[in-house]
Symmetry: C2
C-alpha cells in the first residue's frame, strides 16, 4: 500500500525520547505516514476519487447506524476562496483542488423521522449532537486514510468553526447541520514537502487498566525538548509544546472567535440540552 | 492488505439501490470491509498489538497538535465486566479480550500549561471540549482501521456514555477527562460471523458544492427498503431505518440516561461555556 520505511516512520513520530523499535513490526506503514499537507499540485483528482472517499467514510462505524453526518465537496474556486477567508485566511484552503466539508447532520434524521410522524426531540440534546460530531469525525478519518492510501495529501481545517453561521449560509446548510471541519485534498507538491510531526511519548497518552498521571511532567518535559528539535529543524520560530499549546487555550481571547461556539450552535438549530 | 472482493463489498454496502460498479476501482478493500464484531475468540492479541494501535492513533491528525485525547486499555476481566454493566449490559464488552476506552482529555493540556504558569481557561469552552472529542474520534478510527488491517475485529461502545461519572471513577480519570466511547478489540469468532450493514445511498450523504436536500425522501425510501431486506436476511425483527432511527431519538426518555450528559460533563470538569 505504501513504500515507506516503517522503522524510520516510528523514529520520526516519537523522536529520540521514546520507542522500542519493534513496536509496529506488523503494521502497514500507511498508519504511520500521516503528515499535514498544505502545499498542493494543480493536478486534478482522478475520476471516481471522491466517490471512493465517500464509500470509505460510509463504511466506517456510525452510532446505532444513525449516519448522522454528511459531506459537501467543494471544487468551485470561488467557494474555496471564500472558505479560505472564513477559516482565517488559510491559503491552502483556496489552493487545494478539493475541499471536503464534514457535517454533523441531524437534519436528515430529523426529517426522516418527521416523515414517519416521529417528532424526534432527542436531537435537541447534547448527547445526540455529540453523536453527530463523532460520526462525522470517524467518517472523515476513514476518508483521510483512504485518500492517503491513494497518494493524496490532506489537512483538516478546524478554522471553519471560526464562523459557523457564515459557513452554513455559504454551503446552504439546513437547520440542525453544522460544519465540524473542512479537509483540503490534493496531490502534495513535492517541491514543498511536509514533515512528520513528533508526538508525545506513548506512555503519556496510553494508560493500562487505569489512568495514571504519575509520569506526566517527565513525559511532557521530554516532548518539549523533542518539539524544540523539530521546530528548529523546520526553521520554525516557536516555543516548546507545553507553552505553545497552553497559549492556544489561554483564554476566550485565544480561541479565534470560537468562544461563542455554543451560541452559534444554538442559532444553527442545536439547543444542546 | 486484505483479500476481500472489492465489488462484492460495494454491493453489500449499498445494496440494490445505488452504486456504479467502478466507484472504488482503485481503493484498498480494507476501507470497505468494516462490520461491527460482537463475538470474539479467546485468542489473546499478539505482543505489540496495542502499541501498534496507539502508534496509529497518535499518527492521526490532531487539532493544532494539542493531542487532547488519551486511551485506557482494559484487559482485567473484572473491569471489563463492570464496564459491560455500565454500558447497558453489552456482553461483548465483557467477552472481548481488550477494551480500549477513548478519552477526551483536557487534563494533560491543562496541567502542562499550569506547569508553565499558564491558566488555560480556554479549556472551559465548548469549542475546546469539541476539539478533544474530535481528536479522540479521529485517533480511535485510525486505530480501528489499523486493527482491522491486522485481522482483528471491533465495535465501538457508545454505551459508556450512559454512566459517564461511574466510568470516570472506575478508570481513575482526572478532572477534565471524559470517556467518549469504548472499543471492543479481538479476533472475530468465525462461527458467528458479522455482516456488512448497508448504508444510505451516496447521494443522501454527499453534496456537491452546496447542500441539497431535494432528493432526500426518495433516498430514504429506497434505503428503508434496503434496511428491511437486510434485517430480514439477518432474522432481525426490526422496523425500517427511518422508524427505527427516529425512535432512537424520539425524546429524552429514549436516550438511555444520556439526556443528562451536559450535567455529567459539568461534574467531570467541563463547564462547556
Amino acid at each position: 500500500m505504501n513504500m515507506y520505511d516503517r522503522d524510520a516512520l516510528v523514529r520520526e513520530r516519537y523522536g529520540e525520547a521514546s520507542v522500542e523499535a519493534n513496536l509496529s513490526a506488523v503494521l502497514d506503514p500507511l498508519f504511520l505516514q500521516h503528515r499535514s499537507v498544505r502545499a498542493y499540485r494543480d493536478t486534478p483528482l482522478p475520476e471516481g476519487t471522491i466517490e471512493s472517499l465517500v464509500a470509505a467514510a460510509q463504511s466506517a462505524s456510525t452510532s446505532s447506524n444513525l449516519q448522522a453526518w454528511s459531506v459537501v465537496s467543494v471544487e468551485s474556486a470561488e467557494t474555496r476562496s471564500r472558505l479560505s477567508e472564513l477559516a482565517g485566511g488559510q491559503k491552502h484552503v483556496a489552493s487545494a483542488p478539493v475541499q471536503l466539508v464534514w457535517l454533523a447532520d441531524l437534519s436528515r434524521l430529523h426529517q426522516a423521522a418527521a416523515d414517519q410522524g416521529i417528532s424526534a426531540e432527542g436531537v435537541d440534546y447534547l448527547e445526540v449532537f455529540l453523536v453527530s460530531v463523532i460520526d462525522a469525525a470517524i467518517a472523515a478519518q476513514s476518508a483521510a486514510l483512504a485518500a492517503e492510501s491513494l497518494d493524496l495529501g490532506l489537512v483538516y481545517i478546524g478554522g471553519l468553526r471560526n464562523h459557523p453561521e457564515e459557513v452554513a449560509e455559504l454551503l446552504g446548510l439546513p437547520d440542525r447541520c453544522f460544519a465540524v471541519f473542512g479537509m483540503c485534498i490534493g496531490y502534495p507538491d513535492e517541491t514543498k514537502p511536509a514533515h512528520i510531526k513528533p508526538r508525545l511519548p506513548q506512555a503519556a497518552v496510553w494508560h493500562r487498566e487505569k489512568y495514571d498521571a504519575a509520569g506526566l511532567a517527565e513525559h511532557v518535559e521530554a516532548y518539549d525538548l523533542e518539539s524544540l528539535r523539530f521546530y528548529q529543524s523546520q526553521n520554525m520560530d516557536r516555543k516548546q509544546w507545553s507553552i505553545h499549546s497552553g497559549n492556544r487555550v489561554r483564554g476566550p481571547e485565544s480561541l479565534n472567535g470560537r468562544d461563542r461556539l455554543a451560541e452559534a450552535l444554538n442559532r444553527l438549530g442545536f439547543p444542546l440540552r
